[in-house]
Structures are given as structure tokens and as C-alpha cells.
Symmetry: C2
Subunit: 348 residues, 2 copies
């Protein structure tokens, strides 16, 4: 039997709670086919407050030895003064994405049967955002002078390379080709002319290799309009790290909420383990109350299995979530009850 070595970073707030349900469903879905050998890494705001560590080198190295990573959510209570000097997001979450070269941040959006969109007329929403994960304004290439004086200047540099853009654009074309043959590049080429030109030229250069894919372009501002007025028009959106961050929260909102949004931080080359996480944060305000919806974490385990080549087990999880969502009657269920519901709906 195959063994999957899984690094588990529950993190803070509701992170460990939703990961627990994700692991239950994951184990059940691969039962008889694979064994999930987990290593827990206690990382996040709580660990930082206790030990001062954010992501020690030896733990990063240990995580990198695994086949995949399942992450809950990291981040303490907003405004906690003790966290002021630690940027857990940068030092832990983004560090993992960058160190493990997660250049594809894959974020599917579906309006599941039975789920009510805040939009009157959402139509059939089923698209994926292929967000670049290792470049753009996320590189941490900023700086400031005369900090705290009236003459302060604070810069942030968005770094974009042909190397980085090409690999994620290729991935997006592959996705489009395997889906409904629609690819929309989203950028702001009329303002960010250098980066925009690189993205545009890259898409244009690769397009002839995928003659079946219809390529479209939208400025990021216009893309938000269409996500509200006609989200069904999208199949695959490819975009940079920051635009992808913004658009995927909006995508989650229009398709029934951040509680259902799964994501994969992928290193498609396989050089490093990929990392799967719900798009939502640690929500410290509801931690421990049992109110957190683990669906996004559960769906993230389906992306994990897909990535590891276990498509049938992945499909079983998706089918179970579909059945569970369709059966929900709107009465609140605890985190564990949602896990129970999905487990019960898991096809044999």
C-alpha cells in the first residue's frame, strides 16, 4: 500500500479544527489505497508567542521532506500588540510558498448545487483562478527611507520574470485545455505597462500551441465587474499574485462564501511538496466554538489527492461534499458535524 507522508500545519484559530475534519475525510477517502502518515508542525502565532519562532530552518527542511502539506490557517488575533513585530503571514505562509517554489496558486470556484449565491442571478459558476505564487508585489522587495518623518518614502517593487510568468501561463493553458477551453488573462496592462506587457506577450506567445483555447483579456477592475454581473463567463483566469489574491476572495464571496473556497499552492515540477489550504484565515473570533465550516479544508484535501495522482479518491471527496452541501437545510452544524456529514456521504 502506498504511504503519503503528509506535513500538517494546523496553525492558529480555527486552523487545527478544520484540518482535523479534513484529515478524517482524507483518510477515509484513501482507505485501502494509501496510508496517510502525518507529521504535525506546530507553527503560527501561538507558537511564536510561546517560543519566538516563526519558521525555523530545520522545520522548513523537515516539511520539505514530505509528499505534501496540509495547512489550516495562520495568524493571531488582529491587532495583538505582541504580534506587532512578527509578520506571521510573511514569515510563515509566504515563506513556505516561496521556499517551496509554489508557483501555481490554484483556486477553483464553484457555485455548488444547493448553495445560495449572494448574487440574484449567478448562473453556472465553475472556474479556476491560476494565481502566480512566487513573484509580483509579493516578493518582499520593498523599502522605506526617513520612516516616521514627514519626508518618508515607502516603496514596494513588483518583480515579474519571463521565467516565472511563462511557467504559470503554461499551466493555465493546460488547465483551460482540460476544461472548457477558455482562458482570461487579468492584469492592468494600461497602467503597469512593463509587467503587463510581459504577461501579455507571454500569453500571446504560448497561445498558438493551444489553438483550441480562446484567449481573452480583462483589466483587473473590469474583471471584478464581470465576477458580479456574469461570473459564468469564466473558465480559467490567469493572473499575478496580488490580483489573484483579490479576485479569489471576491470569487469566494459570489459563490457562497470563503467557507467553501479551497486552494492548492503547487509546485508542478515536483521538486518540492505542494501545500493545500482553505482560502480563509484563522478567524480567532470563532475558534473553539465549533462554528467553523471545514468544507474548504476538506475540499483542499481533494486537490491534494488530485495533485498526488489519486484522482478517484479526490473525486469521491468532491462527490461527498456535493451531496452534503445539497442536503444542508440551513440549520447550523458544528465543525465536526459537517465532517460527519461529508464522511457519511463518501461513496465506497
Amino acid at each position: 500500500m502506498r504511504t503519503v507522508r503528509l506535513a500538517v500545519v494546523g496553525g492558529d484559530g480555527i486552523g487545527p479544527e478544520v484540518v482535523e475534519q479534513g484529515l478524517r475525510v482524507l483518510r477515509a477517502a484513501v482507505d485501502g489505497e494509501a496510508e496517510i502518515a502525518t507529521t504535525e508542525f506546530r507553527l503560527g502565532a501561538a507558537r511564536y508567542l510561546e517560543t519566538g519562532d516563526v519558521l525555523p530552518d530545520d522545520e522548513l527542511a523537515a516539511i520539505a521532506e514530505h509528499d505534501a502539506i496540509l495547512l489550516g490557517a495562520v495568524g493571531g488575533v488582529p491587532g495583538d500588540p505582541r504580534l506587532k513585530d512578527a509578520n506571521i503571514e510573511r514569515g510563515l505562509l509566504l515563506k513556505l510558498r516561496f521556499a517551496l517554489d509554489h508557483y501555481v496558486n490554484l483556486r477553483p470556484t464553484r457555485l455548488w448545487p444547493g448553495v445560495v449565491s449572494p448574487l440574484r442571478d449567478a448562473g453556472e459558476v465553475d472556474f479556476v483562478v491560476v494565481r502566480e505564487g512566487t513573484e509580483g508585489p509579493y516578493v518582499g522587495n520593498g523599502g522605506a527611507i526617513r520612516v516616521g518623518t514627514p519626508a518618508e518614502v515607502a516603496n514596494e517593487v513588483s518583480v515579474n520574470t519571463a521565467f516565472g510568468v511563462e511557467r504559470v501561463v503554461r499551466y493555465a493553458f493546460e488547465q483551460a485545455s482540460a476544461r472548457r477551453n477558455g482562458l482570461t488573462l487579468v492584469h492592468k496592462t494600461n497602467v503597469l505597462t512593463f509587467a503587463g506587457s510581459l504577461w501579455h506577450r507571454t500569453v500571446d506567445a504560448i497561445a498558438p500551441e493551444y489553438p483550441e483555447v480562446a484567449v481573452d483579456y480583462l483589466h483587473v477592475d473590469a474583471a471584478t465587474i464581470f465576477l458580479v454581473t456574469d461570473p459564468a463567463r469564466f473558465d480559467v483566469i490567469v493572473t499575478d499574485n496580488l490580483f489573484g489574491d483579490i479576485l479569489t476572495d471576491l470569487a469566494a464571496a459570489i459563490s457562497g462564501g470563503i467557507g467553501l473556497a479551497a486552494s492548492g499552492n503547487l509546485n508542478p515540477s515536483g521538486a518540492f511538496p505542494s501545500m493545500f489550504e482553505p482560502v480563509h484565515g484563522s478567524a480567532p473570533d470563532i475558534a473553539g466554538t465549533g462554528k467553523a465550516d471545514p468544507t474548504a479544508a476538506i475540499l483542499s484535501t481533494a486537490l491534494l489527492l488530485e495533485h498526488l495522482g489519486m484522482s478517484e479518491a479526490a473525486a469521491r471527496i468532491t462527490a461527498a461534499v456535493t451531496a452534503d452541501l445539497a442536503a444542508r437545510d440551513g440549520s447550523p452544524r458544528t465543525t465536526a458535524e459537517v465532517g460527519d456529514g461529508v464522511l457519511a456521504a463518501l461513496p465506497p
Copy 2:
């Protein structure tokens, strides 16, 4: 009688059509109180294709001699190869904003009575976005090396200064104080740490001067969620140039469309004329068909009058638009018919 010297840049596509209706309503609203002396400037993609000029220095200087600017929309047919080397947006629209130091880009959003939001349950939407207009990733401070080779690197620099952030944040506090005392800073402080810190510290430093204003902070991704799930929570949003661009298109979408979204590019110091324009673009596909809704252009003239201190005339325009929108029965009206309707509803 007061004379308002108005520079008019109709621009491309539907720009001149909507500006024509805006001017009709503007003139009627100030009748007896002021005379509108217009100077037309033929600028935009059409002019560029004819003469090769985007914004000649002498025309910029002539525009700057006016009391205010009314702009329709600029930009040619997307993908027109003859426009490939001219970036009309950068060379004309952004050049005007930067040269005339329009550091406040004021974008009100209202769900008008009678207008149907694409959201099932929008609530009472009535907020303004105070978008910084002269800094951030819009400064044009990018560059690229090895263009067209596999080793290309394309950078974009977001420049943020204490000078620039403080003046727009002060303006936003004034707005909040004159409205419902709510101010939400939107940024991405956990990723853009240098710029984010400057924005955050600036808001924190000014807040004690406005003890009546409740200050809130949202990451830009989370802000898109709330704009969909609870837009009524916002009063004043203050944010940087790019986030403001993105959020205001989304705001227009949730409140009934870009056809109703007005904006003012303000130089509150009065050193340069302010510029008023609908948020929408030139929509070349419907130019000349009479399908363009001039409401956003008309509402932009209300912002113009407000800025010039003619609040009563501004209020008359707003009242007329309110009445006209409430009376619409959904059957299509031409651009001129909407102008007629607003004119007819104008209080004496």
C-alpha cells in the same frame, strides 16, 4: 453673474455623447446663478490617430487655466494595432491626473432608489471611496531588462510618501466626519509591509484629531468580500491608487452598474483645476448608437458644482437624477432621452 470656465474633453467613443447630456443638465442647474463658458479640447485616441498628439504641453497648459474639467472617456478600440505604441490612458488621462495634482480621486457609490442591485440583499448602500490619485503603482516607475528574451525581468514600483498619504487621509477623515463617521482603511499591510505601514501609521496618527470617527481596517481581499456580503457597512473607504481603482469598479457593479458611477479627480488645494468624469470607459462598441447612459456623466457635473461651492445647484442635479432613476420602468431610453428625463425632473 459668476462665470465658470470649463475645459471639456469629450474624448472617444461614448465620451462626447455623455458629456453633451452632462453639459445640458449642468447649464440648466446653474441657470441664473452662473454661466458655463466651455473650451473644447479634442484629445484621445481619435485625435492621436489623426495628428499623433496625445497631450501637447500647450494644451495641458491651456486646460490648467480653467476652473474645472469635464471629461467623457478616452481610449480607442481595444487591440487597435495603430494604438499599440500610444498608451492613451497613461499619456492623457493619467497625465492630467498627475500634472494637475489630483491627489483625491473621489468616487461615491449609492444604490439609488429604484435601481436593482445584482446582489439579493444589498441593503442601504451609500459610501464614498477616497482613492489616492498621484502615487502608488500608478507613478509609472517601472522598467524592464532583456525584454523579449527568456531572461526578461519587468518591475513596477509603487511609490508612497508621507506627504501624499497624509493629505489624502486627512481628506478622508473630513469626509467621514461630514458623513456617518465611519472610515475604513483598505490596504494589504501584511504583504506590502513598507507601504502598508506608512498608510497604517498615517491613519493612526490623524485619528485622534477626529475622535468622532470610528476607524476600521480591512485587507483589500477581505474588502471585496464585504462589498458583496455587506456593502451597507461602509461609509468612507480610504485606499491607495490601485486598490481604489479595483474597489470602485466593484462598487459600481454591486450598486447597479458602471453607467451610474461618477467621480471627481480633485486637487482640494485649488492650485490646479479638478477634473470630473464618469468611471466608465469609452465603450467604442456602442458609440453612436444612443445606448450610452449619461447618468454617470450627469452625476459627475454635480460633483463638479459641489467642488466649486455651488452646493444647491449640485443638490438639484442629484435630486433630478434620483427622480429620474426612480421613474425608470426598465424600457431602454436613448442617451438624449435620459438627458431629457433628468432635465425634466430638475427642481426649479
